[in-house]
Point group: C2
Chain length 252, copies 2
C-alpha cells in the first residue's frame, strides 16, 4: 500500500507502424496494469531500428518503475530487440546456456534440426533472466527493470502472466464509471466544479458518438475507496439534476 | 517523388493508458500514411498531463516532417491539449474568432446555449489554422508541423481526410506480401540471405500463430517497383523451394 508504481510500454515493429498488423497488446497491458495497481504512464511504438529502440528504451527505463516491450524477439534477421536491449544496457548479447538447452530439447523432441537461425532465439543480454514461454518455448527475458516479450498476442499474454506475480504493485487506482446521456458541452462546467471539490480524485470525461448524438462516460479514479465513493456520488447527483426537467437545461 | 516524408503520432489520453478505451486511431493513421507515402516512424501515447504532452510533442515535432495528435480537445476540464500545444510552441492559447463564430452559429441553429464550457472548444494556440470538423463542428487545428485532432475515431478520421490533401508526400514505399506456411525457424536463414542480396528493400517476417502452429507473412518493401518485384520473386522462389519435398526440409 506504499506509493505509486509506474510502467511504460515499448512496442517494437515496422508492421505496427505500416498498419499491416493492428496492435492488440497495448490495450491488454493497459487493462492488466490497471487491474493490479500499476500506472501505465506512456506507450511508445518504434520501428525495427536499433538506434530508435535504444533511445526509446533508455528514455523510458530511466523514468518509470517498469518497462514492458513487445516484438522483435524471433529468429529472423529483422528481429533485433535482444541486440538493441544489450546496446541500451551496455552489455554483450550472447547465447544463453539455459535457453539453448530449452530450445535444443524442444527441437530434438520434435525431430527438427536446431539451426543457426533458430539458435538466434537463445540470444539475450548478459545478465538477463528468462521469461518462460509456454506457447512456443523460446523465452523472453528480464534485465534491470525491463521485460522483453513476444509481439504475437497469444505469446505476449502468456509471458506477461508469468511476469505478473513478480511485480511490485502500488496502491491500486480504483475507478467508477457514471453514464451521462449528455454531451460534454452540458456536463463540462459542473464536472470541472466537482473535480475542484475532490482534488484527490481524477475525473475524466470520455465523449462517445453514435448515430449523430453524443453521450459521455464519466470516470472517477481515486486510490482511496471512500474518496472515490464521495466523488462518484457527486457526479451521479450532477447527472440526475441535469436529467430533471428545468427550463435552462440544454441537452447537447 | 523527392525523398522521404516522415510522421509521428501522439495519442493523448488517460483512457487509453488505463485500458478503458481501446485505441482505434493508431492503426487507421498507419494505414493512411502508408497509402499516401508518408513513413510513420513513431507513436507515443501519453496521459492528460501537460508536461508529458509538451515534452513528447517537442521531442517528435523536432524529429519528423509531421506530427498528428489525437485526443483532449473537447470542452471538459481534462481536455488540455490546446493549452499544452500552446506551451510547447511558446504562444498564448486564446479564443479563435472564427471558431467562436462557427460554434456560436451551430449552437444558435440548434437552440442551445453557447456556454463558457462550450466556448473552451474554440481555444487554440495563437497562429493556428483550423482543421474542419464535419461531424461535430468544433475544429481541430494546425500549427507548425503539428496537426491536432479529436480522439473520437469518427471525428479523427473525418478531420484527417480534410488534412490529407495539404500534406507533402514522399516516394511511396511499396509493399508485397508472400505467404509462407513455414515458421520463422525455417525461413530465417534464406530470408536473411535475400535481404543481403537486396539492400534497397526492407524485408520483414511477421510470425502468425493459430491452433498451435506457426506460419509467417513475409513482406517486401521498396520505393522502386522493379526492385520490389525482384525481391518478391526471390522470396517466392525461396518458399517454393522449401515446399519441394527434400530430405533436409524441416517444417516448423
Amino acid at each position: 500500500m506504499d506509493g505509486i508504481v509506474t510502467a511504460a510500454m515499448l512496442v517494437i515493429g515496422d508492421e505496427i507502424l505500416s498498419g499491416r498488423t493492428k496492435d492488440r497488446n497495448i490495450g491488454h497491458l493497459a487493462d492488466v496494469m490497471t487491474a493490479i495497481g500499476i500506472d501505465l504512464k506512456e506507450v511508445r511504438v518504434v520501428a525495427d531500428d536499433e538506434p530508435a529502440i535504444v533511445d526509446a528504451l533508455n528514455a523510458v527505463r530511466a523514468q518509470y518503475t517498469y518497462v514492458f516491450t513487445t516484438g522483435g524477439i524471433g529468429p529472423t534477421h529483422d528481429d533485433i530487440t535482444a541486440d538493441a536491449v544489450s546496446v541500451a544496457f551496455g552489455v554483450p548479447c550472447e547465447y544463453d546456456a539455459r535457453a539453448m538447452t530449452l530450445l535444443a530439447d524442444s527441437y530434438s523432441r520434435r525431430g527438427i534440426e536446431f539451426t543457426e537461425t533458430r539458435k538466434r532465439m537463445a540470444r539475450m543480454p548478459r545478465g538477463a533472466t528468462h521469461i518462460d514461454n509456454p506457447v512456443s518455448v523460446a523465452p523472453g527475458f528480464h534485465i534491470g527493470n525491463v521485460y522483453v516479450m513476444a509481439g504475437v498476442p497469444e505469446i505476449f499474454q502468456a509471458m506477461l502472466d508469468n511476469v505478473l506475480p513478480t511485480l511490485k504493485t502500488g496502491t491500486k487506482l480504483l475507478s467508477a464509471a457514471v453514464h451521462s446521456p449528455f454531451g460534454e458541452g452540458v456536463i463540462g462546467a459542473p464536472l470541472a466544479k466537482i473535480q475542484k471539490e475532490f482534488p484527490a480524485t481524477i475525473i475524466g470525461s470520455y465523449p462517445k458518438f453514435r448515430d449523430g448524438t453524443f453521450w459521455t462516460e464519466l470516470v472517477v479514479r481515486a486510490r482511496d475507496p471512500q474518496m472515490l465513493d464521495s466523488a462518484r456520488k457527486a457526479v451521479e447527483a450532477m447527472v440526475e439534476e441535469l436529467k430533471a426537467p428545468k427550463e435552462d437545461n440544454q441537452l447537447a
